[in-house]
Amino acid sequence: MGNKILAFLAVIFLSSCSPYWYKPFGFIFRHAPKEGSPGFRLGWLHGCESGLGTQFGGAIYQSFYSWKRDPDITSSNPDYEKIRRRYKKELKDVNWNDIRDIKKNFSDYNTIFWGGHYFCRQSVVGTLIAADMPPPVADEERYNPMAHSLGNVFKMTGKGDTRIGTGLW
């Protein structure tokens, strides 16, 4: 009985997970679009990862995310076979025999990349500012880990927190 309950809880828990549930700020990937072409969805994911890996995410999130834009998809002369092999799972619904469909997916990828990039980098910098840990502008100062705590992002008294009882805004 205990195992059944454990399995049930595990299914419930894992079914609500985002693709990067094991990383800090991974929950933001729950906002990844469920609709749109495969290229659209992949472009958003890559954009979001790239956004979190910018200076907006500070040293903490930059440790877990990095620039992900695929140079082959953005290329003016892409190697379709190479890309198809690289994203077997993500782009499996692309009709690789139809050049128009391929180009449409690549175009969607490049268009939405910056949308995901913007959304995720603003989300992470907003969270850091609310936690009183705004990331320093590049070259402004060295990162001081002693001044920050990951737990700060969960505090209820941050800048702009509007939950009842905090009263700071």
Binding site: R30, H31, A32, P33, E35, G36, S37, F40, W44, D108, T111, I112, G115, G116, Y118, F119, C120, Q122, S123, V125, G126, A130, A131, D132, S149, G151, N152, K155, M156, T157, G158, K159, G160, D161, T162, R163, I164, G165, T166, G167, L168, W169
Partner: protein
């Protein structure tokens, strides 16, 4: 019946017919953000862009109301939608960052006029825990004593308030009343 029309006309007069002019203007709920006039594609893009950035950079109030990222993939080739989306992002960003909806109990914590975020380990959690009523009433600068600081010190004084010092001779040896600042030499210029 006459009273009814008097009230209506008076109200319209007071509000300069704003109700009529704004009738049908879609506002975002609980915000001062309204969607500007334009084609349906533009307005949809504007709404989606606004909601995207309102969630991303807004405080928890906005994050509760709005769902998150919005971009209609069916409209990806529509230039009007794209134009509205970028305009929505640009306008609403300034709204939620520069002029956000504040918490409903913000008036309770007047004790912290800076309204700045503080460290988790040193800040109180609202009115009672760390708020004005949890402080010592007589410690200079704290609690109820602190409320009267302005009466005694003016603004940047250094002496205690009426609860901790003599209200008539609060100024110290140079003899000024109510502790107003005195920085020069008494016998000098």
């Amino acid at each position: 019946m006459k009273k009814f029309f008097i009230v209506i006309f008076l109200s319209l007069n007071i509000f300069s017919c704003k109700w009529l002019a704004d009738a049908g203007t879609p506002f975002y709920s609980m915000t001062r953000i309204k969607v500007p006039a334009g084609t349906p594609a533009f307005q949809k893009g504007y709404r989606d862009g606004c909601e995207t950035v309102t969630y991303a950079r807004g405080n928890p109030f906005y994050k509760t109301i709005y769902k998150g990222y919005r971009y209609d993939p069916k409209m990806i080739g529509n230039s009007e939608y794209k134009f509205g989306h970028t305009r929505g992002i640009a306008f609403c960003f300034m709204q939620v960052v520069g002029n956000p909806q504040s918490s409903f109990d913000n008036y309770l914590n007047y004790y912290d006029p800076t309204m700045m975020a503080q460290d988790w380990n040193s800040v109180g959690d609202g009115l009672f825990d760390g708020g004005v009523f949890s402080q010592s009433v007589t410690t200079p600068g704290n609690g109820i004593d602190g409320i009267f600081d302005v009466l005694q010190k003016g603004g940047g004084g250094t002496t205690g308030s009426i609860f901790s010092t003599n209200p008539f001779w609060a100024g110290g040896s140079v003899g000024q009343f109510f502790g107003q600042g005195y920085s020069g030499s008494y016998y000098g210029q």
